[in-house]
Subunit: 233 residues, 2 copies
Amino acid sequence: MTAEPRLSWTEVRDTIRARILARHYAPGDKLPRDEDLARNLGCARATVHRAMQDLAAAGLVERRRRGGTHVPNDPVTRATFDIPVTRREVEARGSLYGYRLISRAIAESPPAVMARFGLQDPSPMLHVRALHLADRRPYILEDRWIDLATTPEILEVDLAQHSANEWLVHHKPYSRVDVRFHAVNAEGEIARHLDTPRGSALLVLERTTWIGSAPITTVQSVAAPGYEVAAQS
Amino acid sequence: MTAEPRLSWTEVRDTIRARILARHYAPGDKLPRDEDLARNLGCARATVHRAMQDLAAAGLVERRRRGGTHVPNDPVTRATFDIPVTRREVEARGSLYGYRLISRAIAESPPAVMARFGLQDPSPMLHVRALHLADRRPYILEDRWIDLATTPEILEVDLAQHSANEWLVHHKPYSRVDVRFHAVNAEGEIARHLDTPRGSALLVLERTTWIGSAPITTVQSVAAPGYEVAAQS
DNA sequence: CAGATTAATATGTACGTACATAATAAGTCA
DNA sequence: TGACTTATTATGTACGTACATATTAATCTG
């Protein structure tokens, strides 16, 4: 008789997940200790621990040393979005990517930008506005501020040829990022550049990065009408 | 002389991350093998593996058996959102939560709803519209469809007293969720219920859940103007 | 009986061994 | 020389041991 195959951590995870889904463990409930689950399922504690790590990352359980493992009392929906550089996104849709620099100027950071970075004092920044196109039609209007203290080399980049978006992603790694979504009505230049009626509802992706605690860039990417962003499956 | 403390996986992760940030490993680059990194850093291969697992989850590296570890050529920004039930979100803001059922009707799923679920044939569903309030002002307008094949018990719930949002989160776990954001202009009933001028730009969170491959619910939560959703830090 | 202290506990972690396996490189063959 | 097969390799994993540590429960003291 051959040895019984060992239980994998993914099988353990799916078993526990099924019990949570079946409300065998309901919101607020405490789960058995790792050691007891291991004995019950016929595997090692480390295998249960690995499965729980995954469940915790998904928000299905909460772990506490000594305190044990619980199903959260107030579950949240956890959704992860992968936001590519715009060129890749357009090309991934099978569309032709286009880029156009609208404006580029050195200026002191305005209050709204300072607020996004959490800055008290203005600092010299490069203000870049650019349009990304898909199949020759406006797709994303980008309004970006780049801190010249951390990123002086952006001044050497020909932003008429290369989007700041891509340059930064390749040359300027960050250690912290803040991402937000909101909606705005198309007005003035936004309506013009995106070639859309004034008043159209537009989705805005705001993304701010820091290296350590020093600001790098903050961008508002205003999407053409109809744009929708989906979490990864 | 006391034994040197062992390197922790978080220290290994931070070291590798710093090297990626410093472009010691640039986009497209292949990293040294786990075993070599372990020797280089003076720790176990399992410790390096644990650190890499975390870096991979953050999207900073890509792992392939035999193929090794690479810095992605096309890095993406990975942002994770935790979406609580509306009551918790309102209370977390220090506001008073209120709830009002607008309408409740059994109907066959319309094409747009079938599309969201990936259904070919319509099925009987409960269509619920409700308003969530913060400090007595409209906050989120919820337009929801609940599949009666998987969730017949929703018919017994007094939705005038309890939001479907909370009932489902507590009683109906799901195994798959699809989350999307887009923007709409406030029109007709939406403008009325949210008490906002027609034409206002509104952020919409769309969330669809399945148990196995069977639909549970799909909801469009239309936020009052000014609403913004932020990724977790 | 409340606050402080101590003990116990359940999870977290470093490691090493042995093995699994996906993926790449090398070799073979027509 | 290209297609196919085989070998090699680098990561993935199960486990067990030993220890670390955050947290909770129990105990002590005034």
